[in-house]
Subunit: 325 residues, 2 copies
């Protein structure tokens, strides 16, 4: 069986780790993860891919579990020095071990390899047990139009997210480069040949939404014969981690699980969802999604550990089986 997961960083990585555990490691099933690259940035001359790295480190056993991002056993000496030199960008949490990943990536990209090739090369070390694909080899960047004391301006998503901790009100998100971007060479084939496609409980705007901003990916999702099941990133209207609420407000989507599902839309009405997993607290509020053509299932969605994530992944597959019929 071939399963494809669309994923951002933290939530996507934990969900995929649960899926891998559910399926056995190495899994009999082939898992392909399409990672968001619209968070990527060039900082200090380095090509940094936060979501791909979080996926790679989490699945490869190199994540700082307590922090939830970056490398375990990490130091931040290079970043301290960059700040001492007074160069801009030291608000980004650039770890010393993490730096090596960016150095290898930047060198390979400079030498002409695609991000897909580079990601495969990096994964040769981390052995994540999945095939990790960047959504695109083209440059796509989520910019955020903010309006604060410094006036209205567009800043890179990472700057808004990390430097300003999403406190500057976002007026708009722009997926720069997305309209012209092509999916990575293996992305559409993976989607078209999948037996099941899962949308991880990642941020619906800046993670999954950014992946969907690449036109050919959304087209493939609408055309693929595979059932598509998403997992709500909201529990009782709150994101477990990250700032999905702020992002949803910006795009005018109410902060509840049912509204996020309607935002993705049913495949029966030109959307990308067949099924939607919600937290048991949201069971009643989502009951009427069936009328929109979205099948639902409810269970605890808090990924407290790998087992909890595996249970959620397992129920995702069960719902996919149900909607496949």
């Amino acid at each position: 069986m071939k399963i494809v997961v669309l994923a951002g960083g933290h939530g996507g990585a934990r969900y995929t780790r649960g899926l891998r555990a559910e399926l056995g490691n190495p899994p009999a099933t082939e898992i392909t993860v399409i990672g968001n690259t619209a968070d990527d940035l060039v900082l200090h001359g380095l090509n940094i891919c936060p979501d791909l790295d979080t996926l790679m480190y989490t699945l490869g056993g190199g994540l700082a579990e307590d922090r939830g991002w970056g490398r375990s056993d990490e130091t931040f000496h290079a970043n301290e020095e960059l700040a001492a030199y007074g160069v801009p960008g030291s608000w980004f949490g650039l770890g010393d071990r993490d730096l090596a990943t960016h150095l290898v990536r930047t060198q390979m990209l400079t030498a002409g390899y695609s991000l897909t090739d580079v990601t495969e090369a990096l994964c040769a070390r981390w052995l994540p047990g999945v095939s990790l694909l960047p959504m695109s080899d083209d440059r796509v960047e989520t910019h955020v139009v903010v309006n604060d004391d410094e006036g209205q301006r567009a800043i890179h998503f990472q700057e808004w997210w990390i430097r300003y901790q999403a406190k500057s009100r976002a007026e708009r998100f722009i997926y720069v480069g997305a309209p012209e971007a092509q999916p990575g060479p293996e992305v559409v084939p993976a989607l078209m040949n999948a037996d099941c496609i899962l949308l991880a409980p990642s941020n619906p705007v800046v993670s999954i939404g950014a992946i969907l901003s690449v036109p050919a990916i959304t087209s493939a999702l609408k055309q693929t014969p595979a059932p598509i099941v998403g997992v709500s990133p909201l529990i009782s209207g709150r994101a477990v981690r990250g700032m999905a609420e702020q992002c949803l407000s910006t795009i005018g989507v109410p902060r509840d699980a049912a509204s996020v599902a309607r935002h993705y839309g049913s495949r029966q009405s030109d959307g990308v969802l067949d099924g939607w997993l919600v937290d048991e607290q949201d069971r009643d509020a989502c009951a009427d999604l069936a009328e929109d053509g979205i099948a639902t299932s409810a269970l605890p969605l808090l990924m407290t550990d790998v087992n909890a994530a595996a249970t959620i992944a397992s129920e995702s597959l069960r719902l996919a089986d149900r909607v496949r019929l």
Copy 2:
């Protein structure tokens, strides 16, 4: 008074620190250091200038004094990870704090600044109390022709020095790019307007020799009205640190202080030396250098601490005064 020092890394930095101490900090006298850049290398996509950095860190108080190279309070996590990724070049001791220097430098060079400009910018943080000039903004690289189990081949000086610890016999040194290289824009003016020029007790082949390999620098030394005094890097035929002996053997210069002076040559016979400071142990062996037109002075040359280096610097200036007459 304007003093110019030609310097490699470790010995040059310690000598210059002594000179600065001797002259007071900030010195009434203007010190310009012309640093060797032929050790520079591009590694992991980073522009690394080992000698300039050793000078900058030593004079700026950031050197790991115990190790004698790289940053104090240093870790090597990025380098461990580069090795784990299996990329070549992890034999180079790339520290995490040090990395920040290379990142800033690489970014500025990529943006089009010259190495002279970049060095000035980096020094704005370190405040070395001297004007630190790269010998050239052009790429000059010392390559070493070795002949070992893997056959005859040319390797970068750093690879020979650090990876092979100078154990592969060097057949020849080649200063790649030197014949066409121009001195940095402030180098020749500094030499022509100096009141005194000092050759630090650096490696006469791969440090001072590499600086002299830039034709216009050697021409300026031959033409400048300033007296030129060198300090022997050998004490009783041995280098205090580094591998000057191996380098001298390769170019066929006997391993003693007098022979190194003759190798530099007297300015009276188209060389670059007016005076030569030797260790007291080498006093007798160097007595006849006067016949070659090189004035000498003898004192303990071991730079055990800043005071010892200051005494040597002071005696260098005294000898310069003597030969000026």
